[in-house]
C-alpha cells in the first residue's frame, strides 16, 4: 500500500509499504478515505519530538472504511464508515473511565506522560498513522465512531481532531457569559477554538496571528476580532491590556504550541537549538495578558522537556492553567449534533486537497503557509475505488 514515510527533518515521501496487520484481538484495519496534515504533524516534521524514527508513517486525523476486524471486535463491522479519534483509548483504565480519553494508560508503552496517538512518534506509542491507504486502529470497540448518514467525509475527518480540540480549548477556558477570550494562533485549531468560544457564551473573542490571510479567514468563519501581532501592535500584551481597559482578558487560549514565532530568544532556544521543548512565545503572552484570577487554556503542543514561561506571574496573578490533548471521543456526540444541526461547519476550513502521492508538497505548503493554506486533506489513491 502507499504510505507517507518520514526520512528526517523536513523530508518525507510517499512509498509502498506492507499492509498493516491485526496485532491484537481488538484491532481493526481501516481503508482510508480522507486524512489530514495537522499542526501537530509539523512538530514531528521539523524534528522537534524526541524518538521520531525514520520510516514511520504519520497521520492522526482520518476517516475510512473498516476492512478487517480482530476476534474481539463487536462494536463495528467490515464495511462500516468510521471517524477515528486521534487518541488511542482503551475505554476501561481509570483515566478513560473519567472521560480522559487523551490520557489512556493502555496505549503508549514508551511514555507515561503521553497517551497513545496514531502516527505520532514513538513518544506517542510508536503506532503507524493514517497518511496511508490503510491503517491499523487499536481498541476498535471503543474509538472508531460511525459517520452518521448525511454527514460529509470532509466534516467527519475534521471531527477526529481539530474540531474537538478547538471545542475543548474553549471548554477548558471556563468561559462564563460575557467573558472576553483571546485565542493565540489562527490555524485550524485556533480558528475552531474562537468559533466554539461563542457556544459557551463568550462576549468578545479576539484572535491573534501573523498571517493576514488566516486572520481574514478567522474573522469570517469565527465571527471574531482578528489582529496581526507583527503589524497591528508592538507588544501583544500591551495591546491586549489596552483593549480590555487595562485589566486583561478573562481567558487566553494557546493554540500555537512549540512552533511559535514572535520572540527571537524563544525561537532560537526552542526551535533551532532545541534547548527547550519548543518556542513558548504564545504561552508566555497568554500568561501575561490574562487578567488576575483568569484562565489560561493550552492546547498548543510542546515537547516532553522544559519550556521558559513566566511561572511566577501565574502565582502572582492567581491564574488557573489547564491543558490537555483533546478527549475526542467524549466530545463526539455533542459535536456530531452541532454539525448535523448546521451550528458548526468544520469542512469550510479545508482549502487544499492533495493526492497522497504528493505528501511532501502538502507538508511543505502547510508548514511554510503557502498558497493561503488553512487545512490540507490528503486523498489516498484507493479512496476512490
Amino acid at each position: 500500500m502507499l504510505a507517507m514515510d518520514f526520512r528526517g527533518p523536513k523530508r518525507v515521501r510517499a512509498v509502498q509499504k506492507p499492509m498493516p496487520e491485526i496485532k491484537h484481538p481488538e484491532d481493526a484495519i481501516v481503508r482510508i478515505l480522507r486524512t489530514c496534515i495537522c499542526g501537530s504533524d509539523l512538530h514531528l516534521y521539523n524534528g522537534n519530538v524526541p524518538d521520531t524514527r525514520v520510516g514511520m508513517t504519520f497521520g492522526h486525523e482520518f476517516v475510512g472504511e473498516i476492512v478487517e476486524i480482530g476476534s474481539e471486535v463487536t462494536n463495528v463491522k467490515v464495511g462500516d464508515r468510521v471517524m477515528v479519534p486521534f487518541n488511542i483509548a482503551c475505554g476501561r483504565c481509570i483515566f478513560c473511565k473519567q472521560g480522559m480519553f487523551g490520557n489512556c494508560h493502555e496505549s503508549n508503552s514508551e511514555a507515561t506522560a503521553v497517551g497513545g496517538f496514531l502516527g505520532y512518534a514513538h513518544t506517542g506509542g510508536g503506532h503507524n498513522g493514517g497518511q496511508a491507504e490503510y491503517a491499523r486502529v487499536p481498541y476498535a470497540n471503543f474509538g472508531p465512531t460511525l459517520i452518521p448518514e448525511g454527514m460529509s467525509l470532509d466534516d467527519a475527518v475534521l471531527l477526529t481532531d481539530i474540531t474537538p480540540t478547538g471545542y475543548q480549548a474553549a471548554e477548558m477556558a471556563g468561559i462564563q457569559p460575557g467573558d472576553t477570550v483571546v485565542v493565540f494562533g489562527a490555524g485550524p485549531v485556533g480558528i475552531m477554538a474562537a468559533r466554539c468560544c461563542w457556544l459557551f457564551g463568550a462576549g468578545r473573542v479576539i484572535i491573534i496571528d501573523k498571517e493576514d490571510y488566516r486572520l481574514e479567514f478567522a474573522k469570517n468563519f469565527a465571527k471574531c476580532e482578528a489582529y496581526n501581532f507583527e503589524s497591528d501592535m508592538d507588544d501583544p500584551v500591551m495591546f491586549l491590556k489596552k483593549t480590555t481597559d487595562w485589566i486583561g482578558a478573562d481567558a487566553c487560549i494557546d493554540a500555537v504550541g512549540a512552533e511559535a514565532a514572535g520572540n527571537a530568544m524563544q525561537t532560537i532556544t526552542g526551535r533551532k537549538l532545541l534547548l527547550q521543548a519548543g518556542s513558548a512565545t504564545a504561552l508566555h503572552w497568554a500568561i501575561n495578558s490574562v487578567r488576575k484570577g483568569g484562565v489560561v487554556s493550552i492546547v498548543g503542543v510542546y515537547g516532553p522537556t522544559d519550556n521558559l514561561v513566566p511561572i511566577g506571574n501565574m502565582i502572582n496573578k492567581g491564574i488557573t492553567m489547564r491543558g490537555n490533548q483533546a478527549s475526542v471521543k467524549r466530545h463526539l456526540p455533542r459535536l456530531i449534533d452541532h454539525v448535523m444541526n448546521g451550528i458548526l461547519k468544520p469542512s469550510e476550513l479545508i482549502t487544499h486537497r492533495i493526492p497522497l502521492e504528493e505528501v511532501a508538497d502538502g507538508y511543505r505548503m502547510f508548514s511554510a503557509k503557502l498558497d493561503n493554506i488553512i487545512k490540507p486533506v490528503l486523498i489516498p489513491p484507493t479512496a476512490n475505488s
Binding site: 526520512r7 465571527k223 451550528i343
Partner: protein, 170 residues
C-alpha cells in the same frame, strides 16, 4: 450595559453549551476514586510482541497494545535502548533520544543507498510546491546554499592553511 443573547443573534449557537458548572477544572471532577486502588482495572488482552518495543521505566510492563511502527535498530537503536534506561524525568532519557533521531537520519540515507535508491531530496523536501507558490524563497535558499558550498570549497582548496599548533604536554 450587559449584553444578552439578542446581541449575538448573528452567531449560530451562541451560548448553547453554556453551563454554570463549567468552571475551569471541568470535567476532571468526574473522579471515580479508583485512582486510590492503583492499577486495578481489568486489563485488555496483552498484545503479543512481534518486534522489539522499548517501554518507559515509569511503568512496570507494556501497555496492552503497542505500536506497529519501526523497532529500534543500528547505532540509533543502541542509543535509544540506553535512553530507555532512564525515566521520563531525566535528561538522560530525552537528550539521547534527540541524538538518536539525528543518527537515524544518516542511517536512513545509507539504507536508501544500500537498497539502490538515491533519495530525491528536492521532492522529499516539497520544493516542487515551494517553487510553484514561493519561488523567491527557494531561490534565496539555493543562493545561500551555493554561497556556503562555494566558500567551503575555496577555503578547503586554498592550500597554505596554518597547521594547528600542537600544545606540548607537560
Amino acid at each position: 450595559m450587559k449584553k444578552t443573547a439578542k446581541d449575538f443573534a448573528h452567531i449560530p449557537g451562541w451560548g448553547i453549551d453554556n453551563d454554570p458548572k463549567n468552571e475551569p477544572t471541568y470535567p476532571n471532577r468526574h473522579r471515580t476514586g479508583e485512582e486510590h486502588d492503583g492499577r486495578s482495572w481489568v486489563r485488555p488482552t496483552q498484545q503479543v510482541l512481534d518486534r522489539e518495543v522499548l517501554h518507559s521505566i515509569e511503568r512496570p510492563d507494556y501497555t496492552a497494545v503497542v505500536g506497529n511502527s519501526v523497532p529500534p535498530s543500528g547505532l540509533s537503536g543502541v542509543i535509544r535502548r540506553f535512553a530507555f534506561k532512564y525515566s521520563e524525568n531525566s535528561y538522560l532519557h530525552w537528550l539521547p533520544l534527540l541524538m538518536a533521531d539525528k543518527v537515524n537520519v544518516v542511517e536512513g540515507i545509507l539504507d536508501d543507498f544500500a537498497h539502490g535508491t538515491v533519495p530525491n531530496i528536492f521532492v522529499e523536501k516539497g520544493y516542487k510546491a515551494e517553487w510553484k507558490h514561493s519561488p523567491q524563497t527557494l531561490v534565496l535558499k539555493l543562493a545561500a546554499f551555493t554561497a556556503v558550498t562555494a566558500g567551503t570549497i575555496l577555503w578547503l582548496s586554498s592550500g597554505d592553511k596554518k597547521k594547528p599548533v600542537r600544545r606540548s604536554r607537560y
